[in-house]
Symmetry: C2
Subunit: 440 residues, 2 copies
């Protein structure tokens, strides 16, 4: 049998149920899927393939899964920092969005974000924003895999000036992208329990449920939100969402920081998933999500970067590192959130949070070929005692050498093959100049 | 006048007292020092120079200052993680040190650490370890600037098997390196108030003070240490050190996490400095140092990575990012530890913590030419609204393009010019294999 791609000469971190690590491993890819995952035995002859990739002693691992992004906001990264949430939103982000978020800037920002994500080893992302059809077209062209949700909010928003049209708009997006490509799964993204009415939430959830799609929502992000919902609904945000039927297997709760024991039980019992955006939550000072309790309760948790404006990067390697370290220092116990646990959050658990763990998140025969190769021949990665420790605590996104998504090589030797990054950078610089001039 | 090096076509973040940012800036270097720092005016002609460096629109900034390292421990990075402190030390680090720390491995580990630091924009470090003479020779050969302290501890240690010889050993190191080179400043590094007797501490401090050198000590690192010193000395660690005359302008307290208001007053009043190692302190779950209170009290604070075995990297860009974010989330206020404050900790304040701020830490006429250039033409750094935000929140060590130390180009286009990195990596891999086999 001849394969499309054979990868050899690397250590495979499979992230299979036994978390097997295969030294001197071989991965064979055909028609976008993993056909063989094995160790090189004595006298092993490499099978024939269209392309042989030498991992040069590096790490072969599943592509990373970013469970929460606002991709087009890449054009706003570093526009404003170190501010309280409301001035940051009202004086900087919302005015910039209102003036500059158009189909062409959404497309540009999405390509910019995809370039950053692919070059730092992310192969799947979950997004929620406006003009999501433009996001979807750009993500599709980039070669990435994604769950993409049209934003729903009960205020005038980019591309949805009339809030009463927000659900129809989202449904049109779903109808257009449902079953269009195995790479793009449509979704609905409701902004929050305090910016969407109960009626809006129910309609949105119904629209998602009717096609078994992911319903995303920011929930229990800030103390203010919790206090507000407690005051208005006499319930915590999570209890309120549960009481109106929002929580089930296909619900992805983003942040979920201000939760109590009852909230955690409700999430666990409903089967809802949680996306934790550690670095964004640190930078915005939202708080520390009880990730250890979530995992103890059996809740599926994925990592997200959040949008570039509040992080300010899309690098999941840094997110793994920060997540491990923050929870250790938060409860003064260095044994919690060990490297393996955090590595799973960024791969198989993140895939599970998006309902895609039957297809991605690990290197196992039959799964999609979403694989990245880490160059370890660098001073900060030599010597290597444990590839999982290296990935979480020592590696950076810039150590990603090659990226394969659905069996296609999309990054080779740290260069993107699927679109013209230089052109995107030139155009992003120009839009940056225009945005900057508004604030100077 | 002809210069040795002229750098142009970049944004200079000077870190001078006014924190001036010079767009389209020019830096002229002669005999290792900064002769001119200015903006390109209309009709400006570049001066003559041996070498013209085009920053290509990037950021020109002072080299970063790492105020706490154990450089040779680079060969142990990732050897053991996610363990309580005592098993980590007693079952992994101490046995590995006891067997493998020899002059040649110290030299190798130091070169490995210098490669990682230089490639990620650190131009000055402060180290404390054993066989420090080997550390000094390797740092000198690498072209880095450093404050280097021979380790003092009242137990048998690598190279000092007889503890009663520890002070003499440290004094010999000081005598050898004092006034030998402007690049290397000797120092004494006492391990801690619980591993050095009062007599040892006093002798060490006297030896440092007699030559106006930095006295380094881990202090108030863990809750256990505080409780132990409280029980043994009826004082907090800081109060104890103060009471025996250890605190003055030339003392660098490392960590200083478990301190109370009286301790902070004592540090401030004595003029002692603090090195905060955010990521190491997070990973080892030691606690969160009250950096904001230190700064309010007027204490000079620098950032350190700590040794590679407890971080696990030497990248000060990540350290800046984590330090800003950790303190924001810790007190739930996004306005604290803003990008400018953190950037100063990693440059001019770190230089001050080492008593070197008259020479390094900013780009000002007359100072040493310790400069790094950041390549911003990358997806994660476009567009650029604010270079300081980009440095702290978006850039990684791998974005450093060129590094100049004392007017010498030591890194050009991300390649080290001063020693053979490939040979170091090969030898580090081999020692890694040997260490690994001990634990398998």
């Amino acid at each position: 049998m001849s394969f499309d791609i054979v990868i050899h000469n690397g250590t495979i971190v499979t992230v299979n149920p036994d978390f097997d690590i295969i030294e001197d491993g071989i991965v064979c890819i055909k028609n976008g899927r993993l056909e063989r995952v094995e160790s090189r035995s004595a006298g092993y002859l490499l099978p024939e393939a269209e392309e042989i990739i030498d991992a040069k002693g590096g790490i072969i691992m599943p592509g990373l899964v970013n469970t929460h992004t606002h991709l087009p906001m890449s054009i706003f990264k570093g526009l404003a920092d170190d501010l309280p949430l409301m001035p940051w939103l009202n004086e900087h982000i919302f005015p910039a969005e209102s003036k500059h978020i158009k189909p062409e800037t959404v497309r540009l920002g999405t390509f910019l974000a995809c370039a950053e994500m692919m070059l730092s080893g992310t192969t799947t992302c979950c997004d929620g924003y406006f003009f999501e059809d433009e996001v979807a077209k750009a993500v599709f062209d980039s070669g990435m895999r994604a769950v993409l949700g049209q934003g729903v909010i009960d205020f005038p928003a980019p591309g949805v000036l009339e809030p009463s049209d927000n659900i129809n708009n989202a449904v049109r997006f779903i109808d257009k992208w449902h079953d269009k490509s195995p790479m793009i799964t449509p979704s609905i993204f409701c902004h929050s329990p305090y910016t969407c009415s109960e009626e809006t939430l129910k309609k949105a959830k119904d629209a998602a449920s009717s096609k078994k799609l992911i319903f995303q929502i920011h929930a229990a992000e800030t103390k203010d939100e919790r206090n507000r919902i407690l005051s208005e609904k006499n319930s915590s945000p999570i209890k309120y969402l549960d009481s109106i039927g929002m929580l089930d297997n296909d619900t992805l709760l983003v942040h979920s920081i201000w939760v109590d024991a009852d909230d955690i039980d409700r999430i666990a019992n409903s089967g809802a998933k949680v996306s934790v955006c550690t670095e964004s939550e640190m930078k915005l000072a939202s708080g520390i999500a009880p990730v250890i309790k979530f995992l103890e309760a059996g809740i599926k948790v994925g990592l997200g970067t959040d949008g570039s404006a509040s992080n300010n990067d899309l690098d999941l390697f840094q997110e793994m590192d920060s997540t491990a370290k923050l929870h250790k220092v938060n409860i003064l116990d260095p044994t919690v959130m060990d490297a393996k646990t955090v590595f799973k959050l960024a791969t198989i658990d993140g895939a599970g949070a998006l309902g895609l763990d039957h297809e991605i998140g690990s290197i196992e025969t039959g799964k999609q070929a979403d694989i990245i190769i880490i160059d370890v021949n660098r001073p900060h990665l030599v010597p290597m005692y444990n590839p999982v420790s290296h990935i979480v605590y020592s590696a950076r996104g810039s150590d990603v050498q090659d990226v394969i998504i659905a069996g296609n090589v999309v990054v080779r030797d740290k260069k993107i093959l699927t679109f013209d990054v230089e052109e995107i950078l030139e155009r992003a610089s120009l839009i940056g100049e225009a945005i900057k001039s508004d604030f100077s």
